[in-house]
């Protein structure tokens, strides 16, 4: 997969030799923003539904607050009762911004089927998910100074676990830890202007991009290599989970992951996001977390 590297080199060679100019692209029709729904239910946690309006591609980037779909009616039906979700928000100290969403009060439960109804701008969107996937615990975690995936070489962790037999499973990595701004983000920090942490530590969740399927490994021991997002020093601690996603959510986040590759690499076919919600873009699904494992970094990041 390192083909990408020399393709980039050849591309750079071309760009160096060639002429470059900015061009205006006129899209055929004026783009009308679409509602984007993003919600993953976790057993034992209150539901959160992120609703935003997509922006025209060539517009300036806007904050989550500006994108937020205000005035939507969001309800969740758990088989016995319907709960109306209310607008709420959290403050992301690291990026110095508010992230709004709709929040419920009833904890999601394993084994239940949930129906989501969103009414916005005169249109109603519905979706359903059942939290039925097995909880799969981590057997072993190992630090690795270098492994390779489609994005190149990384440092990270290797999770080992035994796949839940008899069902199609989709796994991803989660790491929670306290950070301060001395631990730089691998990709993002250079474009973040403000620091709202006031030198204090903040809590951050790091989700693995890659979805691991149990195809040809049903019931067998599996290994998951995950890149970590933030710098670390020897002795830093983190809490690691294994998430088991439902199939729809796995497909959506796989598309997201693949799309990033296609954005970064012009030689990769573009990825169209497929919605799991009729009439709009988005995902409504569920994930079951493993028990937490405390991980201590054995060395500084390379």
């Amino acid at each position: 997969m390192k083909t990408v590297r020399y393709i980039f080199l050849l591309l750079s060679f071309f760009v160096a030799l060639s002429c470059r100019k900015e061009v205006n692209i006129k899209l055929d029709t004026a783009y009308e923003g679409q509602l984007f729904i993003e919600s993953i239910l976790y057993p034992g946690e209150v539901p959160k539904v992120y609703l935003s309006i997509s922006q025209p591609f060539f517009n300036e980037e806007v904050t989550p607050q500006e994108m937020f779909a205000r005035g939507a009616q969001v309800s969740l039906f758990n088989g016995t009762e319907t709960e109306l979700l209310r607008p709420d928000s959290t403050f992301d100290k690291f990026r110095c911004r508010w992230v709004p969403f709709y929040r419920g009060g009833l904890l999601a439960e394993h084994g239940k089927t949930y129906g989501l109804t969103v009414t916005y701008a005169g249109k109603t969107y519905t979706a359903a998910t059942t939290i039925s996937q097995s909880k799969v615990n981590i057997d072993d975690i190992e630090y690795t100074a270098e492994f390779f995936d489609v994005y190149g070489g990384h440092d990270g962790v290797i999770l080992r676990f035994v796949d839940a037999p008899g069902e199609r499973n989709f796994y991803r990595f989660q790491m929670d830890r306290f950070l301060d701004t001395s631990r730089h983000h691998a990709h993002i920090l250079e474009v973040i202007e403000n620091d709202c942490t006031n030198g204090e530590k903040f809590w951050i969740t790091d989700l693995g991009r890659t979805i691991f399927r149990d195809e040809n490994s049903d019931g067998q021991e599996m290994e998951l290599n995950a890149e970590v997002s933030f710098e670390y020093l020897r002795g830093d601690t983190a809490y690691i989970f294994l998430q088991s996603l439902d199939e729809n959510s796995a497909a959506f986040f796989e598309d997201i992951d693949n799309q990033l590759q296609s954005i970064l690499n012009p030689f990769v076919e573009p990825v169209f996001l497929k919605s799991t919600i009729e009439g709009t873009i988005g995902v409504f699904g569920s994930a079951v977390r493993s028990d937490t494992v405390l991980f201590v970094y054995p060395q500084d990041n390379p």
């Binding site: 083909t3 050849l10 900015e22 061009v23 997509s54 390779f148 190149g152 993002i188 598309d255």
Partner: protein, 760 residues
């Protein structure tokens, strides 16, 4: 089907008992080169034929005391011969280059009108003499660049010689040199093709109405014949340009019995750019071509040809811990034996070996990667041409092709200063596949007004995993509307057992060919075409208007989010669909006179539909271009100066642009960010492509040491008004605002060139 077979068998023997046959070869009087597609015409009977790829002709006619025959070929003085015709005659004729007085005498009596009279359609012949007159790019006239100027043919991106015919992908063109397949006919970045014009005799492009002897690709056949070598005297010719130089030597091994030609070309781009590079950059780029051919006239009925070609590109770029190497090349070898049984049956037997290999490696940040792949084919062909009577010829044969594929990739971290050992070429996994085909094609003049070419080809494919057998009917017919116009129609079914793993760039040679498998089924096309053909002013002007519709099944693209990989087992990454193309092609050509050239215009639509792409909706093919215009002209300005120019215009390529962006916030740091909303694949068209190339040549003939010597200066300008044509478009995000901006990259601005050619 039974009736057609019956006709095939019966028609050749249908009573011509009082007839005799005149046969022979047409050659160039100065070099002995075979003249391909030359005309042999009996004026009194208004019957004639054309020479085959070896210059052979055969005409069976009623006996007569005096038979008048005209022999003509574009760019040569016609000859008129009379013969007592009450026995079989063998008549070899040599034509003198240049248009002479005799030509003017006989030209009015003969019909030089294959454009109108021949039943085949979608065929364009370009003799070498014509190619040489066309504008040079960087001092080199390039065959593939010329082919891109023909109707129904589109170029790829700027700086590439890849071409796309009637909506087909680049892999759907069979490019063959002396019957050997050339898998990658481009040099690096596609500025030149691998074909050295000085070593070429004839180029034929077939894009529709394929005769049955051609197969294996869906969209076109580019059939290139190498020169045989001058069998009368030793000649040397060469050219010294800014980027390349070449030298060709030819001559008799045994006068008028055996000859040879040896032609070589090399670039010195690597030497030229060295002084301009900083000391921390080490770069090297070179390519070379070598063509060689010998032929022996073993006897009056036997001839042997041995030809070979080798071309290689080698590029290295080293800078600050970065090192990449690109090496690829083609080699071919063809051994052919011609035998004439009696005077009506011509046999060609060919044994061909061709190989394509590439080796690309990169080292960056101590990460080493390498891709090695290749194809080797061993072919055997047996082909008969039978000429029972004028207006009737039957061609039949068998072709067997053994493919050996190899492909391997490596990707590893390189520790310390130890260089990676790279891929062990002897350990590369190899796969074997075989193709075969039986074919028969009957070209018959049914009446004065109607002629037809009917054929059937039965190709097959087998490997360890899967086998396929196909039947391909071929038919084309011509209805004469008057002395200067006709209507033609053609129906063709083609199969293709090989696929080129699609790469979104045509110029980077990371192309991997894969065979058909159970999942990747053979590509299949069905093409219908209809055309109106008209000649003007004693056939000085040829015009045609063709319309076509082509269906293509089992088309292959990468699934979303996938890209080139390093092994043959790519089936899981591919998705399958169909394509279809339709359009109209206008062609006006003038071959004779001080001003010659052509105008071609194509209006076409090409779409594809894949269940797993574009939400299952139809989308335009990447090279769907609505308009394609080419104007090519050469003007002979006196005896020494000639001017030529080419203007091309085409609609821009389509590509995929997102229409919106969404912000993904859900809890995960790596997911956070803006993602793209696509509504339609290939929804935006790049700016149109247009370019004007001009060249002027000054030719002078003189004598040195008692020998004739010709020198020529060629001055050329590529992209005269320095149009910044789009090569590709990428998006750059403004860091403060996050606003994406589209950046267009253009490759080749105005490029002047000067070349000195000599010949003695």
């Amino acid at each position: 089907m039974r009736i057609a077979l019956f006709l095939f068998i019966l028609l050749p023997w249908a009573g011509f008992s009082q007839n005799y046959t005149i046969s022979g070869t047409l050659t160039d009087a100065t070099t002995g080169e075979a003249l391909i597609g030359a005309n042999v015409f009996v004026i009194s009977l208004q019957k004639g034929t054309t020479t085959n790829n070896y210059g052979f002709y055969s005409l069976t006619l009623p006996q007569t005391d005096s038979l008048g025959i005209a022999f003509t070929y574009v760019g040569y003085t016609a000859q008129f011969k009379k013969a007592y015709f009450r026995q079989n005659i063998k008549l070899d004729v040599e034509l003198i280059p240049g248009v002479g007085l005799l030509d003017e005498v006989v030209v009015s009596g003969i019909r030089h009108d294959e454009n109108v009279s021949h039943p085949q359609m979608g065929v364009v012949d370009i003799p070498t003499e014509k190619i040489k007159e066309l504008p040079a790019i960087l001092g080199e006239v390039d065959v593939l660049k010329i082919v891109q100027l023909l109707p129904g043919v589109q170029s790829g991106n700027e700086g590439t010689t890849g071409f796309f015919v009637r909506g087909g992908n680049a892999d759907q063109n069979l490019v063959q040199l002396d019957e050997a397949i050339v898998y990658n006919p481009n040099h690096l970045f596609g500025l030149f093709s691998t074909f050295n014009t000085r070593a070429i005799n004839n180029v034929t492009l077939i894009k529709g109405g394929f005769p049955a002897q051609y197969g294996g690709r869906l969209s076109s056949i580019l059939d290139i014949s190498m020169k045989e070598g001058n069998n009368k005297r030793v000649g040397v010719e060469g050219g010294i340009g800014l980027v390349t130089s070449q030298l060709t030597v030819e001559g008799p091994l045994k006068k008028e019995k055996a000859s040879f030609i040896l032609s070589g070309r090399r670039t010195y781009f690597d030497w030229m750019i060295k002084p301009f590079l900083s000391s921390r950059i080490q770069t090297n780029y070179s390519f070379y071509d070598l063509n060689a051919k010998v032929n022996w006239q073993l006897g009056p009925k036997d001839r042997l040809f041995l030809s070979g070609f080798q071309g290689q590109d080698d590029a290295t770029y080293i800078e600050d811990g970065i090192e990449y190497n690109v090496m690829f090349g083609n080699s071919t070898g063809t051994l052919r034996w011609n035998h004439i049984f009696g005077q009506k049956l011509f046999l060609n037997t060919s044994f061909i070996v061709n190989e394509y290999s590439q080796n690309i490696s990169a080292l960056q940040d101590n990460a080493f990667s390498q891709v090695v792949s290749g194809i080797k084919d061993v072919n055997g062909k047996l082909e008969f041409q039978y000429y029972p009577n004028p207006g009737h010829s039957i061609l039949f044969g068998v072709h067997y092709l053994d493919h050996t594929f190899r492909s391997s990739g490596k990707s590893e971290a390189q520790s310390g200063s130890d260089p990676s050992p790279g891929i062990d070429k002897n350990a590369i996994p190899v796969k074997y596949f075989d193709e075969y085909a039986l074919y028969i094609n009957d070209e018959i003049k049914v009446s004065q007004r109607i002629s037809a070419s009917l054929g059937i080809r039965m190709p097959g494919f087998y490997s360890d995993e899967v086998s396929y057998f196909k039947i391909e009917p071929r038919a084309s017919a011509r209805l004469t509307l008057g002395p200067t116009s006709s209507v033609k129609a053609a129906y063709t079914v083609m199969n293709q057992f090989l696929h080129l793993v699609p790469s979104s760039t045509a110029s980077v040679p990371t192309e991997i060919w894969i065979p058909s498998t159970e999942l990747t089924r053979p590509q299949l096309s069905t093409q219908y075409s209809l055309g109106y053909f008209k000649n003007f002013q004693d056939n000085q002007y040829e015009a045609s208007l063709e319309v076509y519709y082509k269906d293509m099944d089992n088309q292959v693209l990468f699934k979303e989010g996938n890209q080139l990989i390093e092994t043959l087992d790519v089936d899981p990454l591919l998705t399958y669909g169909k394509g279809w193309s339709y359009g109209a092609e206008f062609f006006l050509r003038k071959n004779i006179g001080k001003l010659s050239g052509w105008v071609s215009y194509t209006l076409s639509w090409t779409n594809q539909k894949f269940e797993e792409l574009n939400f299952g909706n139809t989308f335009p093919f990447r090279y769907d271009r609505r308009h394609n215009l080419a104007v090519v002209g050469t003007y002979q300005l006196g005896e020494r100066w000639s001017l030529s120019g080419t203007f091309v215009f085409s609609s821009g390529n389509v590509y995929t642009v997102p229409v919106g962006r969404i912000g993904v916030f859900h809890g995960g740091s790596l997911f956070e960010g803006n993602y793209f909303v696509y509504e339609e694949r290939n929804n935006v068209r790049m700016n149109p492509y247009h370019r004007l190339d001009l060249s002027a040549s000054y030719k002078k003939e003189s004598r040195i040491l008692g020998k004739n010597y010709t020198s020529e200066w060629v001055f050329g300008v590529y992209n005269t008004y320095s149009r910044l044509n789009p090569y590709f478009v990428f998006f750059e995000v403004e860091p403060r605002t996050g606003k994406p901006k589209a950046q267009q990259v253009s490759l080749l601005p105005i490029i002047p060139s000067i070349t000195f050619n000599f010949k003695f």
